[in-house]
């Protein structure tokens, strides 16, 4: 049994079910209580679970993340909403110096089972710092896990897995996809394992690795290319950015021998580099062509009038496919 839900609704449902399932769960963030969240992702939860479990916090990200760490240390299961990814910056120290390190520092005596949910990525015509995709900062921090669903079904399953994970998880919610489309989401609580990618479309000529809002650009490009050139591309949704699903990545390369990576994040030191390194380590001899990255540029996400030129477009992805296959 299921319902057709948007990603936002799937997230709300996951939060609702987790709050109902376990008394230790609580959610904190700015405007998430009475207001139901600036994107309405927590709509109805305050009325249902009360002010002690659905908490409107002061405007203080370090305080929010830091007290969530304290709550997690003392037996609660907090889910923090940070209003936009870049607003993690004021709380970055709490995240990397403490949330990520507490287990290591205490040699396993204490852990921080914390989830930080945050709208992520561009394409929403936001002002500065509302369109970040700096997932690399978190993937580069030992002790954190990073997850980015691309659809409602994965969003619910991954969020539940994130909550059940004993370690801190950064849950990146592609803002552009919040209400973009609906799909069937099962009513019951289910889990999608963290660290597991998904082959969303099989192919033999080239593999595209993508995640988040870029999945749709990848799939559109692949469809157009098949119609225009007859090439069949495999599309892999990574879903988890740390730890990356190496086995799925390698298996796909062994099958197609060509790859393209599509990500919104800046090119330099973006996760594309990491994926290419993994392929280099494990499957270099299977490559028929160098791997291309179609990414955001090494610039702060520009103002909304030219934002679309920063982001990977279907045309840029198509071009990347053509150049790689024609190599």
């Amino acid at each position: 049994m299921g319902k057709n839900l948007t990603m936002l609704q799937a997230i709300t449902e996951a939060l609702d079910q987790m709050l109902g399932h376990d008394d230790r769960v609580m959610i904190l963030g700015e405007d998430i209580g009475v207001n139901g969240g600036v994107f309405r992702s927590t709509e109805g939860l305050y009325e249902k679970y009360g002010k002690d479990r659905v908490v409107d916090t002061p405007l203080a990200e370090s305080g929010i993340i830091g007290s969530a760490i304290g709550l997690a240390l003392n037996g609660m299961l907090p889910i923090v909403e940070i209003q936009f990814l870049a607003f993690i910056y004021p709380g970055f120290e709490q995240l990397v110096s403490h949330a990520a390190r507490m287990r290591y520092r205490t040699r396993g005596q204490f852990g921080v089972p914390l989830v930080i949910r945050t709208p992520y990525g561009a394409g929403i015509r936001g002002p500065e710092l509302h369109s970040e995709s700096v997932e690399t900062f978190f993937a580069h921090t030992p002790g954190l896990k990073v997850v980015a669903p691309s659809n409602p079904y994965d969003a619910k399953g991954l969020l539940i897995s994130a909550l059940e994970d004993p370690d801190p998880v950064i849950f990146l919610e592609p803002t552009k996809l919040y209400r973009a489309f609906k799909e069937e989401v099962p009513d019951e609580m289910y889990r999608i394992p963290i660290g597991q990618a998904k082959v969303v479309q099989e192919g033999s000529d080239l593999t595209i690795f993508a995640w988040g809002a870029m999945l749709r650009e990848a799939l559109n490009a692949v469809k157009k290319i098949e119609a225009e050139k007859g090439w069949k591309c495999e599309v892999v949704d990574l879903r988890t950015l740390y730890p990356l699903d190496r086995d799925t990545i390698v298996q796909s390369i062994k099958k197609t021998g060509r790859a393209l990576i599509v990500h919104e994040a800046h090119k330099t030191a973006g996760l594309g580099s990491e994926i290419i390194s993994i392929i280099n380590d494990e499957a270099l001899i299977y490559l028929k062509a160098p791997i291309k990255r179609v990414t955001g540029f090494d610039v702060p996400v520009p103002p909304f009038t030219i934002e679309d030129h920063y982001l990977p477009t279907v045309d840029r992805v198509k071009q990347g496919i053509v150049e790689t296959i024609s190599f």
Binding site: P58, S62, G66, I69, R103, D167
Partner: protein
Amino acid sequence: MPPSVPIATQMVHAVGTAWASKLKGEKNISIAYFGDGATSEGDFHEALNFAGVYKTPTIFFCQNNGYAISVPFEKQSASKTISQRAAAYDIHGVRVDGNDIFAVWLTVKEAVERALKGEGPTLIEAITFRYGAHTTADNPNIYRDQDEISTFWRENRDPITRLRKYLNKEGYWNEEQEELVIKQFNELIDAHLQRAEGYPKSDPLEMFNHVYAKESWHLKEQKQELNQILRKGGKK
């Protein structure tokens, strides 16, 4: 919680742990210790603010020894005292002679009672003094009149001296007892020191443990990598 390097960040943790105690209905409080320098950090303010908003059973205990390494408190803040900043967050603040053991004990006891009654957090500013250098790398003569100030505090405000005088006068203590106790504690310290120095050297491979509850594939492989290197070097 174990000590860590970042300053003032533990104050927000003490808000969170106390908040959890309150939510669970437990009769527990949380206490965070910090110095005068920490009161300039953002987390000091965020912690006091949150503690006030959620009325958490948290005690914020500031050991004000007058210096953050070389920076005297007058340069740290325009506020004359640290305790007065509690008023900014509408929480209870109190300033106490940090070298008076009874005053400190009483002040903290009151703060605990206040917290357990559900009346919220307390900021305690305990005035004390740092006799020596901040660390072995520090030379306090550069930034203060070390001998003059230290001598003054040692002669007039030393906490142990004061307690000894009081206990002697009341007949609870004497010189023989003190000599015996000093001897016993020296032996205990020596024994513990010996034991600590006798701990086996750390296994370098230990660095891969406890990053996550369950090891990621990266860590498994990197551990193997270092293991190979160590084996080749003949050391393990």
